[in-house]
Amino acid sequence: MLGYLFSRLVSVIPVALGVSLICFLLVHIAPGDPLVAIMPIDATAEQEAEMRAVYGFDKPLPVQFGIWLSNAVQGDLGRSIATGRPVGPEVTRAVGNTLLLAAAASVIGFPLGIFFGFMAGYLRDTVWDRIITASAIAGVSTPNYWLGMVLVIIFSITWPLLPSMGAGPGGSGAWVWDWQHMRHLVLPAITLAVVPMGIVMRTTRALVSDILDQDFVQALYAKGMTRTGVLRHVARNAAPTALSVIGLQLGYLLGGSILIETVFNWPGSGYLLSVAILQRDLPMLQGTILVLAMFFVTLNLLVDIAQSMIDPRISRA
């Protein structure tokens, strides 16, 4: 077990390096010169070259990568081209908001998805199963930005119960755990939770229904286990796969919330990314993507470790 943990930890290093290389290169592959956006139209060639040197864009790519990476490891993600402010704190604040939204969506989506998926799998081919499966398909197929707008129309405009924009009175940086702020979380979190909930529901249903067909379930009944006892075994067998799906969906919640953050003006990383893309703000883009990607890598590591703790075949085999 310890050996597995260690090897899994070590294997993160090349992955993280690769990911950071891709983060770095992706934005360079994208067309467009970052400086064009900020240079005045009448700037001279010398001024442009000077600016280029300030941001280090005059050096060859590998050197740029080396400098960027060594700075990033020390926590310095450079300065935004658009605003001139350091990228680090801005990304931290935005990613924090995204994490908050993702966590809220997880708290809504995953338990419900697991519960109803489990129920549908256990009550397979009954009316309950059909209702649950149909709602899961509906949830997965609904474009969530559309759903977000519909929710805004219903709950913010027709019945002004909940705010439709922003993260609360204090702006993007001042989150407080009170109702004043939390009510801003309700609509975007629900909107964001719908797709992962549907996916988790369908996965759990398939897993449970599959496991219930296995011989060992009959053997469990044969040794006198009650329904609760059997379901505990089923849950433990379903957990590793369900966990990996949840891990992937968490990644989706972190990175895929751009549309939702835009619809609800949520000051998160998606919002930051979309602004950075429009402004061709390379350091901001690279920094945001890198931080999100590192979260994703860590998340996968945690899922792997949790899986190996549940299913002995993963670490020992």
């Binding site: 011989d215 053997a219 469990l220 040794k223 006198g224 009650t226 006892g229 075994h233 299913d311 002995p312």
Partner: protein, 323 residues
């Protein structure tokens, strides 16, 4: 000897996309301490009979008729908690493929201990030491270490031993064995059979042993019931069945056996295939394949002709000629 299990006129029908009359009037009894082999080919209803005793058949798609009594209790009337208490404590079951019948994500020790805790409410420590005892009794080497093994870390024979340890942990009075040696190598198969026989005698347990292999039945059984198309065609002691098979199906089964076959000669397989059982049989189900079938065989189900205690044959040829 008194009967521990009595099955009377059991019928099992599966409904679904296709209706199957899997069991069509089976009556059996197993005495205390007796080993009964249910012999028959795939689809003859052996496993279904076993699973009926435990009510392990899928409830919504199964209609069960007839009566099953265990020690005088009506087994088919058991429900909920009483059924769960009955399963595993009074009657235990071992399965064909132990690699599928054990939960892959729990250790062997935990799975055995869980059963003991469930039925006897003992502490975790006591249940674990019982699990260890059981592993020793089924002669798993270095049992202490094996306790924490997971099923995938054991060989096939070892897994079946562990399954037997699990089944016998609460000292059941009846063991249902559903082809427990079919998935094993021939040598391991023999070891497991000998182990089962030994434990059966030690614990004075009744066993219903399902097999399609008459050679296995010879090793383990006191008595044999030959099944065909969801009916019992012949019962008798193992020596009666081997030496003096009366039913044409039993004769065919013995003739089709590898033991005693001459090298190079063709095996005498029974021609034809068993009926699909979409309808319950109204005539002798074996008649279409029977070399000695008479016109009367196709008109009505043959009577079960008793020929001495525990010996019966379902064939018109066994009837006393009408005077």
């Amino acid at each position: 000897m008194t009967a521990l299990v009595e099955i009377e006129d059991l019928t099992v029908r599966f409904s679904g996309e296709r209706t199957v009359h899997a069991i069509n009037g089976v009556s059996l009894s197993v005495a205390k301490g007796e080993v009964l082999a249910l012999l028959g080919e795939s689809g003859s209803g052996k496993s279904v009979t076993l699973k009926s005793i435990m009510q392990l058949l899928p409830g919504r798609r199964t209609q069960i008729g007839g009566r099953i009594r265990f020690d005088g209790r009506d087994v088919l009337a058991l429900k909920g908690r009483a059924l769960a208490d009955f399963r595993g404590r009074d009657v235990a079951m071992i399965f064909q493929d132990p690699s599928l019948a054990l939960d892959p994500v729990y250790s062997i020790g935990t799975q055995i201990a869980e059963t003991v805790i469930r039925h006897e409410g003992v502490s975790r420590v006591a249940a674990r030491s019982r699990a260890l005892d059981m592993l020793k009794r089924v002669r798993i080497p270095s049992a202490e270490r094996r306790l924490d093994n997971y099923p995938h870390e054991m060989s096939g024979g070892m897994r079946q031993r562990a399954m037997i340890a699990l089944a016998l942990a609460c000292g059941p009075r009846l063991l249902l064995a559903d082809e427990p040696t079919t998935a094993l190598d021939a040598t391991v198969q023999m070891q497991v059979l000998l182990l089962l026989r030994e434990l059966q005698q030690e614990m004075d347990m009744s066993v219903i042993f399902v097999t399609h292999d008459i050679g296995v039945a010879v090793e383990i059984a006191d008595r044999v019931a030959v099944m065909y198309a969801g009916t019992i065609v012949e019962t008798g002691t193992i020596s009666q069945i081997i030496k003096d098979p009366r039913h044409p199906y039993t004769k065919g089964l013995l003739a089709a056996n590898l033991h005693g076959a001459v090298k190079g000669s063709r095996l005498d397989a029974i021609p034809g295939a068993p009926p699909t059982l979409e309808e319950p049989p109204t005539s002798c189900p074996f008649a279409p394949r029977c070399p000695s079938a008479l016109p009367v065989c196709r008109e009505a189900r043959p009577p079960l002709v008793n020929r001495g205690p525990g010996r019966a044959v379902a064939c018109v040829l066994e009837q006393e000629p009408a005077i």
